[in-house]
Symmetry: C2
Subunit: 211 residues, 2 copies
DNA sequence: TAGATTGTTAATCGATTAACAATC
DNA sequence: TAGATTGTTAATCGATTAACAATC
C-alpha cells in the first residue's frame, strides 16, 4: 500500500468500494473481477482497475481480486484501523441522532464526550458517552488528546466553539453547520455535511424532470 | 432563465451560491462582482461567470451582478418557488432530527406526514406533522399526491418501503440508507446521504496529514 | 495451452482557468 | 471618457474510458 497523491474523486469512491467488498466478504465470496465490481459500483471496469491500482496492484491477471485481501487493503488505505478520539458538540436533534446512530468504532473514531450548553442534560449519557458542559471543552480536549470534533450546533455558535476546539488541539471537523471553517483555519481538515444543500439539489432534479 | 443541460458540478454549487447571495441580500448589499463571489465561494472569478452564464447573463459589464435579482434567479433555477409534497419514513433518531430541524418550506418541500412502525408513537406530532402507521403509506401518498420521500429507516426495510412508495406514485428520494434505489428503479430521482462514507473520508484525510 | 483478466498506456471527454474583446 | 467587469472563446488541466500487451 503506497500512495503518491491520490485524487479527491478516487478517495470519495473508496468508502463505497469498502462497503460493497465487505458485503461480498460476508457472503463468503472470495474473488471478484473489475467487471463485477464495476456493475455493483455503477461504473466501468476500467475505472475500477485504475482506482485500485493507485494503491499497488493486488489483483491477479486472469483471476481478479481476492476479496478478503482487497477489503483489508481498502480498510488500511482509509485508515480505519487507527482510532481517532473525537468529541461531539451539540446534543440537539442532529447531535443526538449522530451520537446514537453512528458506528464510530468501525470508521476510525471513538467518541469520548458530548458537549452541550443545556444544563439539564449535563451528566446524561448517550450510548455510554457522557454529556459534559461546554465550559470544560478546551481542557477536556487537551487532557484526552482529542483530534476530531463533530459539530452539530447552530451556525452562530460555530465560530466560538471552533476557536475553543482549536485551542484544545483539535484540527479535524465533521461539520453539520454552514460555518466555513477553512476560511478562518486554512489548515483544518474539514468534511462538510450540508443537508439543506442536498435537499435543494433534489428539488432542482425534480423540477428538471417535470419540464 | 433558460437551461440546456447544465452539468452536475454546476448544480452542486448552486445551493452555495444561493446561500451566500441570500446573506449578502440580507445585509443590504445590492451588487456583487464575480471576483467578490469567487472569494466567498473559494473559487475563481472565471468559474463564477461561467456558472452564472448558464442561466442567461444577468450581470452588467462594469458593474457586476445585482444581488436581489441574482438571488431570485438562482431560487427559480433551483426550483425553490415550487412546493413538492413529501413524506418522511422512520421516526427514529435521524428521522426525528430531520423532521424537527429542516426548513422544508424554504427548500421547495412541504412535509405532509411521517411514518413509522412503532405503534406507541402513532398519532404523535413533530412540529405539527403527524406520525402515521406505515400500513397506510401507499394510500396516503396516492390521496395526497406525494412526490418525494425522505428515507430515515434501516437498510433492511428500505426495499420494501420504496416498493410501496413507488406504487403510491412517489418517484423522488432523499435517501439516508445504503440501499441503492436506482438499481431497482432506474428512473427514480435519488439524492443519497451516506453519513458513514463521509466519516471514512474524514478518517482518510486525517491519516494523510499524519504521514 | 487457451481463456480470462489485470496493469498500464493512450485517447477522449468534461470541467476549470485564462484571456480578452465588448460594453456599461 | 476611463475604469471596471462582464460574456465568451480558447487553453489547460484532470478525470474517465478505451485498448491491448503482459501474464496468471
Amino acid at each position: 500500500m503506497n500512495k503518491e497523491n491520490i485524487s479527491k474523486s478516487v478517495i470519495k469512491r473508496l468508502p463505497r468500494y469498502y462497503r460493497f467488498i465487505s458485503e461480498l466478504d460476508e457472503q463468503g465470496v472470495d474473488r471478484v473481477s473489475s467487471g463485477q465490481l464495476a456493475e455493483i459500483m455503477r461504473t466501468t471496469a476500467s475505472q475500477v482497475r485504475q482506482d485500485l491500482n493507485h494503491f499497488g496492484g493486488f489483483g491477479h491477471q486472469g483471476y481478479g481480486y481476492p476479496v478478503p485481501k482487497l477489503k483489508e487493503e481498502i480498510k488500511n488505505i482509509l485508515g480505519l484501523n487507527k482510532t481517532h478520539k473525537a468529541v461531539l458538540i451539540g446534543a440537539g436533534h442532529i447531535g443526538t441522532a449522530i451520537a446514537a446512530h453512528m458506528d464510530f468504532e468501525n470508521m476510525g473514531f471513538s467518541l469520548e464526550g458530548i458537549f452541550d450548553t443545556n444544563k439539564r442534560i449535563i451528566g446524561d449519557k448517550i450510548r455510554k458517552v457522557e454529556i459534559y458542559e461546554i465550559e470544560v471543552l478546551r481542557d477536556f480536549c487537551k487532557a484526552k488528546g482529542i483530534s476530531a470534533a463533530f459539530l452539530c450546533i447552530p451556525r452562530e455558535s460555530a465560530p466560538g466553539v471552533v476557536k475553543v476546539l482549536n485551542e484544545g488541539g483539535v484540527n479535524s471537523f465533521w461539520n453539520f453547520t454552514h460555518y466555513d471553517i477553512n476560511a478562518d483555519y486554512p489548515d483544518a481538515i474539514v468534511e462538510n455535511v450540508h443537508l439543506s444543500d442536498m435537499l435543494m439539489t433534489l428539488c432542482y432534479s425534480m423540477k428538471e424532470l417535470e419540464d
